[in-house]
Amino acid sequence: MEKWLAISGLVLTAILAWVVKDAFHQEWTEYQETYYRLALLEARNEAQKEWATNQKFQVKQLRSGDLSTVERCTTCHLATDNPRFRDAAEPLRQHSDLLESHPPEKFGCVVCHGGEGRAATTLEAHSGGRGVYKPLLKGEYLEAACYNCHGFDTLPAEDTAAIRHGMQLVNRYMCQGCHQIDGVGGEEGPDLSDVGTQRSWLWLYAHLARPQAVTVGSTMPVFALSRDEIKDITIYLMTLRKSSQQMYYAAALEKASAKSTPLTPEKRHVESKPRASLRSVVTYEGADLFHADGCIVCHSIGRVGGQVGPALTHIGWKLSTDDMKKLLHNPDDVLPNGKMPQLYLTDQEIDGLTDYLKDLR
């Protein structure tokens, strides 16, 4: 028995040593080692040399009191303020000039870049692994973060192009026929007023591409969207937030510069009023309107179209033109508890649609 006790005791001791080594050797210690070694090579005077030699390996935190956030991004991203690392590879690369107007001590990193600020490993901070719902914002998706504090007014137009396009597409495809945004829209699908905080851009992108692949049994129609369209709608949806953090920034911004007016939900609502921008872009008539502008998404003609509303293949037999006009003018007058949304069509559009529909026999 003594033999087994000795063997198991030795094995346990060895494993404990391994556990200790594992706990003290982290990914970030390697980055810090590299950075201080490079900083020592780059040092131009004694003071810089001494600084680089005397650095301790430690977790670095940015704390924002106002936002009550703790962010550890700078544990690995050590060179954000070091101009000699302008062209270095990540994570040891200098940040762009934007850092001057956005001091990280005040704002942190996550408010623009997304990701999990508390994490200290690449996998979890950038949420490539188990935290799949909070991925970093990259490329054009960063526009959503800019917009969330600044709104349209203070940003150059080219920096909000994707958002504006996304907004137009949301109007064009009548998303608000089924979804509410800031109190306007149908109740068939989930409210999207806070979708920017509820869902990640990865989820939104996948869902827009093929709703049923992400949400089992979703009744959302499959829109034939191009990749660019999906991207722009996703960026727009990422700007839909109710979070108090954004309101805090908006208020702070308002205080800072009385000129620029930050975007409140009320204002955003005005800007994204259903179809407000659409009519100024294109005018449709009849069949074009029906097929290109969303009706087909819920209603089918023949084998083409959605399953949410009734099939309209033989609608010409079933409804008189007067009833059609009445229904298109305001669906609730004819079908008080129906799902069909109020589409705010012009008389001209109603006439065109009725012309087309009455011939479907």
Partner: protein, 424 residues
């Protein structure tokens, strides 16, 4: 007997070697340490049979053991060491749990961040959380397996009926410990698992919804639920469990040690004198049993450490009451229940668990024949063993379906079939 006496003086030949202190100094240093040793253990290292018996009786830790046990009781193929493993896991959970308590904060705003801190930057935080998580899940499994071992060896028969009942209580306490701990990370996984788990309780008529309200401190899982689960998890349930565990182990030796077959079949007549003649040789507890137990602990701890370094405890996005997980699954040990509930809420959620509990508690008071005690799969007990095996297979099957085969909307998927869902 030379208890309390210093050992005979030792004058080794090298005492006179140059540079060494004189023998008398060394002897007095040795005497001094001996003094301290005896002040703690009250005797010298036991060498005679009588000393070895005395040391078990006189030592706080050792005295839960009988002074002598059957050789077969420490045979790994008899007990599989499962009861001991349960006990060790409880201790490991205790120690790692206290470590986590230094960092954890039971509020909906802070809890998730604290868990991230533990995982990401606290020294040993991740390995401690992993140990606590996997140790807890292992404890549920070990308690269930221990119960099966006791059943299949007929060890619950008189005079051990009540200790079986205590054991059933400990199984439920283990489940309660694990279930209350499940909510604490406050991520999507824990939030929806507890929502589903506590919903199963509401299928009980009248009392069910009230029990759920009492447990959660409200109609839904919220900040009160987190505080309640925390209090239950760190003090209420562990202190009850620790008490019952002590009682359970103490009863083992009071009921005559581990069950063992006897040469002369004892009479089934109530009140008949039982004089078991053990078929197995008797050994002294000290030091063999102590060594076996320590070796088992080292092996268990080593295994658990390896698992905890390699596999991280699950952590999903922070809990969001507006966004249900699909599928929302209860903790794995309740997935058999959830699977049954998906067929019939009343039968699966109320009748089956109630009947099972009654069956478990009542078992030793109906199955009293003193045949086949201490033997794996004794022929005399075939009918009841078949019943038990069928029930066990049912539980394992429903649990396995719930764990491996249920996807979004509780639809059936084979484990190798992909679920629809967002890209990883």
């Amino acid at each position: 007997m030379n208890e309390g006496n210093p050992p005979p003086g030792n004058s080794s030949p090298d005492a006179a070697a140059p540079g060494n202190p004189p023998a008398s100094t060394r002897r007095s240093v040795r005497d001094f340490f001996h003094l301290i040793y005896v002040s703690i253990f009250r005797s010298t290292y036991p060498t005679t049979v009588r000393q070895r018996l005395a040391v078990v009786v006189n030592n706080l830790v050792l005295h839960v053991h009988p002074t002598r046990i059957y050789q077969r009781s420490i045979s790994p193929s008899y007990t599989l060491g499962l009861g001991l493993i349960c006990f060790y896991l409880f201790i490991i959970e205790w120690v790692t749990g206290v470590y986590l308590m230094f960092y954890y904060e039971p509020s909906t705003g802070a809890a998730y961040g604290r868990i991230l801190d533990l995982d990401q930057v606290v020294t040993f935080g991740r390995v401690m959380r992993n140990l606590h998580r996997w140790g807890g899940e292992a404890m549920v499994a070990a308690a269930a397996l221990h119960m099966c071992r006791v059943f299949y060896t007929g060890s619950y028969k008189p005079p051990r009926e009540f200790n079986w009942v205590l054991g059933v209580g400990l199984l439920f306490l283990t489940l309660a410990l694990s279930f209350t701990g499940y909510l604490l990370p406050w991520d999507q996984l824990s939030f929806w698992a507890i929502t589903v788990g506590t919903n199963i309780a509401t299928y009980a008529p009248k009392l069910g919804p009230k029990v759920r309200y009492l447990l959660l401190g409200g109609p839904t899982v919220g900040s009160d639920a987190l505080l309640r689960f925390y209090t239950l998890h760190v003090i209420a349930v562990p202190s009850i469990a620790a008490t019952v565990i002590n009682y359970h182990i103490w009863r083992v030796s009071k009921d005559g040690g581990l069950a063992a077959p006897t040469e002369n079949e004892p009479s089934d007549e109530p009140g008949a004198e039982v004089t078991p003649q053990p078929t197995s040789p008797v050994i002294q507890t000290f030091p063999t049993v102590l060594y076996v137990e320590l070796a088992a602990f080292a092996a268990l701890m080593a295994l658990l450490l390896v698992v905890s370094v390699w596999f991280n405890a699950p952590l999903e996005q922070q809990a969001n009451p507006l966004q249900p997980n699909n599928p929302s699954k209860a903790p794995w040990y309740f997935l058999g229940l959830q699977e049954m509930v998906s067929y019939s809420a009343f039968w699966g959620g109320v009748m089956v668990p109630t009947l099972l509990t009654v069956f478990l508690v009542a078992l030793p008071y109906f199955d009293r024949k003193r045949r086949g005690i201490g033997i794996w799969f004794a022929k005399e007990r075939r009918p009841i063993m078949i019943l038990w095996t069928v029930i066990l297979a049912g539980i394992i099957l429903t649990t396995a379906i719930g764990v491996f085969c249920r996807g979004p909307n509780w639809k059936f998927y084979w484990p190798w079939e992909p679920w629809p869902g967002p890209p990883a």
